[in-house]
C-alpha cells in the first residue's frame, strides 16, 4: 500500500488483515460519546468526487474528522473540470496545495492509476468506473467477520449487474485471497465469462436459486442503468428473475446475511421485506465503512 490505495487486487493478504484488525479497534470508537481523536491532527485530506456519491464521500469525511484531520471536499459540478480543465491539470493543481492524501472517485476505470503515475500525493481510490472500490470490499469483509469467525470456506453469492460493478471486482479479489468461494450471478449479458478467471474459487451462474443455495452471504448489487450503454437485458423482468425476495432465503444457509453496497432500489433488485429484515446487514456495512476508512487513512498518512 505504498503511497496510497488503488485496489484490492494488488494487496497482499497480511496488509488486508492488518487494516481489518485496526478497523476492529475503530469499531469500538463509533460507540463512544466522544469519537474524535487527534491521531491525524494537522493533516489535510482532499476528497475529490467526480461522480455523485452520498455514503462513500460522507463516510470518508467522517473518518478523516474522527481522526482529527482537516478535510476539503470537491464535487465535479463545482470544479474546474466543468470549465474544460483536464483531469491531470485539476489534480496537479490540488496537489500543489500540498494535501497529505487525495481521496478520489471517478467514472473512468483506471483514472486513479493514471494519476498515481503523475502525482506524488498518495491517492485513495473511492471507486473508479467499473474497476475497483477497495474500501467497499474492506468494509464488506469487516461486516462478514462481525457475523463469522473467518472468511475461509464461506460461500458468498454476489448477484446483479456484475459486468459494471467495481464492488463485485474488489470483493472477488478480497474474498478469493481469503479462501471464500464466490458465486457471481446475473443476466448473461451482465456476466462476462472471463470473470471466472480473474481470481481463484470464482464460479458463475445465471440461475439465482443456484447462486443462493447454501450461501453464507448474499450480496445484492444495484443495476447500474447509468452505465448501460445499450439495452443489455430486458429491464422490465429483472426483478422477477434477479430480485431478492423472502422466499429465496430458505435456499441459503440458516444464518445467512444479506448485504448491499447501496444505494438500494426497493422492488428492483431487493424486496423491502428482505431489506428491512433481521438478516439484512446493510446498515452495519455503512457503519463499518467509517471504521475501515479510518484504518485506511491512518495507515496511509502515518
Amino acid at each position: 500500500m505504498q503511497g496510497g490505495l488503488l485496489g484490492i487486487e494488488g494487496l497482499e493478504r497480511p496488509e488486508i488483515e492488518s487494516i481489518l484488525k485496526r478497523a476492529k479497534d475503530f469499531q469500538a470508537v463509533q460507540h463512544q460519546a466522544v469519537k474524535k481523536s487527534d491521531r491525524l491532527r494537522g493533516r489535510m485530506i482532499v476528497n475529490v468526487f467526480f461522480e455523485s456519491s452520498t455514503r462513500t464521500r460522507t463516510s470518508f469525511e467522517i473518518a478523516a474528522k474522527r481522526l482529527g484531520a482537516d478535510t476539503v471536499s470537491i464535487t465535479a459540478a463545482g470544479s474546474s473540470l466543468s470549465k474544460g480543465e483536464s483531469l491531470v491539470d485539476t489534480l496537479n493543481t490540488l496537489a500543489a496545495m500540498r494535501p497529505d492524501a487525495i481521496v478520489m472517485r471517478h467514472s473512468a476505470s483506471g483514472a486513479p492509476h493514471f494519476l498515481a503515475r503523475h502525482l506524488e500525493t498518495p491517492i485513495i481510490n473511492a471507486g473508479d468506473g467499473t474497476h475497483e472500490h477497495p474500501t467497499q470490499a474492506l468494509l464488506d469483509a469487516l461486516t462478514i467477520l462481525d457475523h463469522r469467525p473467518s472468511l475461509e470456506g464461506l460461500r458468498v453469492a454476489i448477484i446483479g449487474d456484475i459486468a459494471h460493478s467495481r464492488v463485485a471486482r474488489s470483493n472477488v479479489h478480497l474474498l478469493s485471497k481469503f479462501g471464500a468461494d464466490v458465486v457471481l450471478c446475473g443476466p448473461p449479458p451482465l456476466l462476462p465469462a472471463e470473470l471466472a478467471q480473474i481470481a481463484p474459487r470464482v464460479t458463475l451462474t445465471s440461475d439465482m436459486a443456484e447462486a443462493i443455495r447454501e450461501a453464507d452471504v448474499i450480496m445484492m448489487l444495484r443495476v447500474q442503468l447509468e452505465r448501460q450503454h445499450e439495452a443489455a437485458f430486458p429491464a422490465g423482468e429483472y426483478f422477477r428473475f434477479y430480485g431478492l425476495r423472502l422466499e429465496h432465503l430458505c435456499l441459503a444457509r440458516p444464518e445467512v446475511i444479506v448485504m448491499h453496497p447501496g444505494p438500494i432500489n426497493r422492488g428492483r433488485e431487493i424486496s423491502s421485506e428482505v431489506a428491512d429484515s433481521q438478516i439484512s446487514a446493510i446498515l452495519n456495512q455503512v457503519e463499518n465503512g467509517v471504521a475501515v476508512r479510518m484504518a485506511v487513512l491512518e495507515r496511509i498518512l502515518n
Binding site: V88, H106, S109, G110, H113, T130, R169, E194, L195, H229
Partner: protein, 417 residues
C-alpha cells in the same frame, strides 16, 4: 543486397544515377560517385509503408507531412501512403493535390495519398474517387470510420474496381465495438474496461470478402489482428479471390496482457489482442497469408494522450520502430528469412497498390533502404522525428535497425554513429 523481386540475395554493388538504379552487380565502376559503404549491412529496395497518418491538413499540432516523412526516413521507409482522415478529409482531387504538392515541397520520402471511400468519410455518399485517382491516389479507404452500410460498400467496390483501385477497409463493426477501449477478454474484464471483441473485426472481414466475390474488386484488410479474420483471408486466397491484408508490428509483437494498464501508449484500433491472436498474425506473416507489414503510424499530441484511458484517442506512432520490432519478432526469432521480411516491406505493398517500386534492378526508382542486423540500440521516443511521442516501444532495446535511407538517389537519413 536482398531484392526479392529479382531473387537476388548476395554481395553486390548498387549504382544510382539521376535518381534511378543505373546498375546492380559485383565490382561496379563508381568513378566520381559518392560511395556509401554498406559492408556488413543489408541493402534492400526502398521500404514502403502503406498505412500511415500524416495529420496534414488539419491536425498539424500532432504531425505534418514534413515531420511524418522525416520519421519515415529515420525508420528506413522511402515511400509512405497517407490515410485520408485529415481535416478536411481527403475526399476530393483538391485535397489530394494539396497533399501531393505539400509532399513535393516538404517531404524527404515519397508520399502516396489514399483517398476516402465516401464524402467526409461519413459512410453515405461516394467520394470523387475517379477525380482523386487522376490526382494521384493509390487506393481508397475510410480508415478509422469504416463504411457500415453494406450497400454503400458494394457500390464503392464496383466503382473503384473500374479504376483498378484497391479498397482498403479498417474492418470494424462499430455497433459491436461501441465504447470499447481494449480487446474484449480477461484483461478488459479485470481492468473494468469495455471490450472490443474480435468478432467486431471478423464480421466485417467476412462481409467484405463476400462483397469482393460479388463485385470482383480488389479488397485489402488493414491492420489485421484477429485469428479468425486471418483464417478467412487465407480461405479467400485459396479461392483465388483478390483479397490481401497487412499486419502491424504491434499486432504481431504485443498482446493485451502485455499492455500496461490504463497506459494510452497501448491504446489503438484494432486493439492488441490475445497472445494467441498475436502469434497467429506472426504465423500468417511467415506462411504468406499476410502480404505486407504496415505501421498504422498514428500520431497524437501529448495532451490528447494525457487523459483518462477511456478519453484517450486510439493510435500509436510506429515508423521508427517497424524494422527493429520486425527483426526482433520475425527474423531473430527464426520465423521468417531476411528475403521474406524485405518482401513484406517492398514487393508486398507495391503489388497491392500497383506501385512501380520495391525492386532494385536497372531502371527502377533509386529508393534504397539500408539496415543492419546486429547493432544494438534503444528507442528514445523523445528524440523522434515525429511531432508526437505515443509509442509503447519507448526504452525498448533492439538488435538491428535502419542505417541509411536513400530516396531517388539521395541519402535522406543516416544513422548517427
Amino acid at each position: 543486397m536482398v531484392d526479392p523481386a529479382s531473387g537476388h540475395d548476395g554481395l553486390a554493388d548498387v549504382l544510382l544515377q539521376d535518381g534511378v538504379v543505373a546498375a546492380v552487380g559485383p565490382n561496379l565502376d563508381a568513378t566520381g560517385a559518392e560511395v556509401f559503404d554498406a559492408g556488413g549491412m543489408v541493402v534492400a529496395p526502398g521500404f514502403i509503408d502503406m498505412h500511415v497518418h500524416l495529420r496534414e491538413p488539419g491536425f498539424e499540432h500532432a504531425e505534418t507531412i514534413e515531420s511524418g516523412a522525416r520519421a519515415a526516413a529515420a525508420g528506413g521507409f522511402t515511400s509512405i501512403c497517407c490515410m485520408p482522415n485529415t481535416a478536411p478529409v481527403n475526399d476530393s482531387a483538391t485535397v489530394t493535390s494539396y497533399i501531393i504538392e505539400r509532399a513535393r515541397r516538404y517531404a524527404v520520402v515519397n508520399v502516396f495519398p489514399i483517398g476516402a471511400i465516401t464524402k467526409d468519410s461519413a459512410g453515405e455518399e461516394l467520394a470523387a474517387i475517379g477525380s482523386m485517382k487522376k490526382a494521384g491516389i493509390v487506393a481508397i479507404s475510410d480508415d478509422g470510420r469504416p463504411v457500415m452500410n453494406s450497400m454503400v460498400m458494394r457500390r464503392a467496390m464496383e466503382y473503384a474496381g473500374g479504376y483498378g483501385l484497391p479498397v482498403i477497409d479498417h474492418c470494424e463493426d462499430l455497433h459491436l465495438s461501441a465504447g470499447g477501449d481494449m480487446h474484449e477478454g480477461l484483461e478488459s474484464v479485470r481492468r473494468g474496461l469495455r471490450g472490443i471483441p474480435s468478432c467486431s473485426e471478423d464480421v466485417m472481414v467476412a462481409r467484405d470478402i463476400l462483397l469482393t466475390e460479388l463485385t470482383g474488386a480488389r479488397f485489402h484488410v488493414a491492420h489485421i489482428s484477429s485469428r479468425h479474420s486471418l483464417a478467412m483471408v487465407a480461405q479467400a486466397k485459396a479461392r483465388r479471390l483478390p483479397v490481401s491484408c497487412e499486419a502491424t508490428p504491434h499486432h504481431f509483437a504485443l498482446s493485451d496482457e502485455q499492455s500496461a494498464p490504463y497506459d494510452s501508449n497501448y491504446k489503438m484500433k484494432p486493439p492488441l489482442r490475445s497472445a494467441c491472436d498475436r502469434d497467429t498474425v506472426a504465423g500468417g506473416i511467415a506462411d504468406g497469408v499476410v502480404d505486407a507489414i504496415a505501421t498504422d503510424h498514428a500520431p497524437h499530441a501529448g495532451s490528447e494522450k494525457m487523459q483518462e484511458f477511456e478519453r484517450c484517442p486510439f493510435g500509436i506512432i510506429g515508423l521508427e520502430t517497424a524494422i527493429g520490432v520486425s527483426l526482433d519478432r520475425l527474423v531473430h526469432s527464426g520465423r521468417v528469412g531476411l528475403s521474406r521480411l524485405v518482401e513484406l516491406f517492398t514487393t508486398g505493398p507495391a503489388r497491392i497498390l500497383n506501385l512501380d517500386r520495391g525492386r532494385l534492378t536497372a531502371g527502377a526508382p533509386g529508393d534504397v533502404t539500408i539496415f543492419d542486423l546486429e547493432t544494438e540500440w534503444t528507442y528514445d521516443v523523445n528524440k523522434s522525428a515525429s511531432k508526437s511521442n505515443n509509442s509503447p516501444f519507448h526504452g525498448v532495446k533492439f538488435r538491428g535497425g535502419p542505417a541509411a535511407t536513400i530516396v531517388a538517389g539521395r541519402i535522406v537519413w543516416k544513422r548517427e554513429t
